[in-house]
């Protein structure tokens, strides 16, 4: 797998060094060969020309045979600085320049190439064509200046090539930096987008066309993806809302079916008990009336009557749950008065640890209801709230305010104008499992004897009979919030519409 921690700059330096390591020795070698060839050829050409001139001097001038003149001519070879050794052999007689550099002697050889012999002297032997003479001139030239020139040229070449290598690497690094800076900036922007900042634009501040085009393409893609993402999010939210609404409706339907079934049962049971209570009460009264005043049975008979009356009350409550209220009177009603009456009552009744807060907001619009039922409904909800707070105390808030539903409210709340009666407590609250059952008759979380379990069932019966909507929200340890929504009376909304029309016209 490729190593991801090596950047473009490092890669470029490594590649440049590798290329230079491979190519520079070769280039160096080639250049050195060329320089050396040029220098040595130049040397050889020069000394040969020079030697030819010396030989020509012996052939043309009347020198041969005259030792003094011969010596002078040979000395001139050394004195010009061209040669280091000069000798003339003429008919077996050798004449050597007195100025020859010490330590150099003719060994009978002749150099054809610069490097024929490894020593520092280059020997040339040229015959002299002059009648009566069998002569040849033998000259030695110092190779060291040429070797020094070659060495110096080699140093220069190596210096230049090393400088070139360093400079090219530096330029490569600078170029890479120039290329990668906009890419790094683009990468940073992309990371920001990936980490959630979807509105961050992807751009590269560069004049390099390819990088600029890449940034533009990425930005276009980002904008498109952000749009798609937002659309998907909206769709998901909408689906979640619809699903929540569906579940709430299902839950409401289940609850309603269960309560309907219980209502049917309660109605049937109530009928039977009511019928049997009549003879119990009448017979007990008959026997009681027949007892003398001091009869010990009187108390027992009164006990029968008390129990029968108590049963009568329980059945009455069950029937309240069973929509007894359907036949109650209905009238346009301002909820303020019955609600305030309950608040006054509860302020007088509640223990010191519980604060009763009344919160009536806005203009109370009339609803179609029955004041007695509203009273009973509010009392039952307040009683439930007080019992939920118990000895620990808390705050009971009774609120009344107009509410306009826009269709986004919980399931079952149609768009329209409502009056909202709200009873909130800071009591122990309920978990979802308990909330499922609170409206069932005889369901109670309280200890035996502390409650009949009919209070909220009666609330449900009243709400149903009035065609209102009951919403409950509760959190264990935090409290419970009951909301009852009453549709504002149609006449009122109609007249309001008329007023609006009048205002417009």
């Amino acid at each position: 797998m490729a190593r991801l921690d090596v950047g473009l700059a490092q890669r470029t330096v490594v590649a440049g060094v590798a290329v230079h390591l491979l190519t520079l020795p070769l280039v160096t070698w080639v250049l050195l060969v060329v320089v050396r060839e040029a220098q040595t050829n130049n040397f050889v050409q020069h000394v040969r020309t020079f030697a030819r001139g010396v030989a020509d001097g012996f052939e043309i001038a009347p020198v041969l045979g005259d030792t003094n003149k011969t010596s002078k001519l040979l000395d001139s070879v050394i004195l010009t600085g061209e040669g280091v050794y000069a000798e003339l052999a003429d008919n077996g007689r050798r004449t050597v320049s007195a100025l020859n550099h010490p330590g150099i002697s003719y060994t009978g050889r002749q150099d054809l190439e610069f490097s024929d012999h490894p020593d520092s002297t280059y020997f040339i032997v040229l015959p002299i064509n002059k009648s009566g003479h069998d002569a040849e001139v033998r000259l030695g030239f110092d190779k060291r200046p040429t070797l020094d020139d070659i060495a110096e040229a080699r140093e220069r070449i190596v210096e230049v090539l090393i400088s070139y290598a360093v400079l090219s690497l530096v330029m490569a690094v600078v170029l890479v930096q120039y290329l990668t800076r906009p890419l790094a900036s683009l990468g940073e922007s992309a990371r920001q987008v990936a980490s959630g900042d979807h509105e961050r634009r992807l751009s590269a501040n560069t004049t390099i066309r390819e990088v600029h085009d890449l940034a533009a393409d990425l930005e276009k893609m980002r904008a498109e993806l952000v749009g798609v993402n937002a659309k998907l999010r909206t769709e998901m939210d909408e689906r979640a809302r619809v699903e929540a609404q569906r579940q709430a409706l299902e839950s409401q339907l289940r609850r309603r079916q269960r309560l309907e079934a219980l209502g049917t049962l309660a109605g049937g049971v109530a009928h039977e008990i009511n019928n049997t209570l009549v003879p119990i009460m009448l017979f007990a009264q008959t026997v009681l009336d027949a007892q003398p005043p001091d009869s010990p049975s009187r108390e027992d008979l009164l006990g029968i009557l008390r129990s029968a009356r108590r049963s009568k009350e329980v059945v009455k409550k069950v029937l309240t749950f069973s929509r007894q209220m359907n036949s109650g009177k209905r009238e346009r009603l301002d909820l303020t008065e019955p609600v305030e009456e309950v608040v006054r009552l509860f302020r007088a009744l509640t223990p010191p640890g519980i604060l009763v807060v009344k919160c009536i907001e806005g203009h109370c619009l009339p609803v179609i209801a029955d004041a007695t039922l509203i009273n009973l409904l509010t009392m039952n909800l307040c009683t439930n709230a007080l019992q939920a707070m118990g000895a620990t105390g808390g705050t009971l808030t009774v609120g009344l305010a107009p509410l306009t539903a826009t269709g986004l409210e919980p399931a079952g709340v149609a768009a329209g104008n409502y009056m909202q009666l709200r009873i909130q407590d800071t009591g122990h609250g309920m978990d979802p499992a308990t909330m499922e059952h609170i409206f069932e008759p005889f369901f109670t979380t309280r200890a035996a004897g502390e409650g009949t379990g009919l209070g909220l069932a009666v609330v449900h019966g009243i709400v149903e009979s009035l065609g209102a909507i009951l919403l409950v929200d509760s959190n264990p340890g935090v409290g419970t919030d009951f909301r009852v929504l009453f549709r504002v009376a149609e006449e009122q909304t109609a007249s309001q519409r008329a007023e609006v029309r009048h205002d417009i016209s």
Partner: protein, 148 residues
């Protein structure tokens, strides 16, 4: 104290001139109620069905009819309607304990005591009484329908 009746349809032996007919399908209730009314001085006849009650009325008119609303076959509402038509001078008291005839008749809006009593009033009952009631209550209602 008057001894219990052998049959719910026996004539009362009281000397009162006010004749009351009680119709209810509950026999214990019929016995208890007729006993209470007799001790209050009324002449009481009883019937355990609507049909039987109407037959007794044909034999002899009644000043007051006390009828249950919910009864099998023929309901108290039918009885009230018939009596108000055929015997306009008879004062009618309807009584109901709610509930339905049969489970299949269940209508959410019509199972309650007050609903039945409301229907009874509309059918022509002069007074209505929710079951259960005490002796004093029924006697007060009887006196009320008879007027001063």
């Amino acid at each position: 104290m008057t001894s219990p009746e052998g049959s719910p349809e026996d004539r009362s032996q009281t000397s009162s001139t006010v004749r009351i007919l009680v119709i209810d399908d509950e026999l214990d209730l019929l016995t208890a109620l007729s006993g209470t009314l007799r001790r209050a001085g009324y002449r009481v006849r009883t019937a355990h069905s609507a049909e039987r009650g109407l037959a007794l009325l044909e034999q002899e008119a009644a000043d007051v009819l006390i009828t249950d609303v919910i009864m099998p076959r023929k309901s108290g509402i039918d009885v009230i309607t018939t009596v108000r038509t055929l015997y306009p001078s008879t004062r009618v008291i309807a009584m109901s304990g709610g509930g339905s005839f049969r489970a299949s008749d269940y209508q959410p809006g019509s199972i309650t005591t007050s609903a039945y009593l409301l229907v009874s009033e509309r059918a022509g009952a002069h007074a209505v009484l929710a079951k259960p009631f005490e002796a004093s209550e029924i006697i007060a209602v009887v006196r009320q329908v008879l007027g001063p």
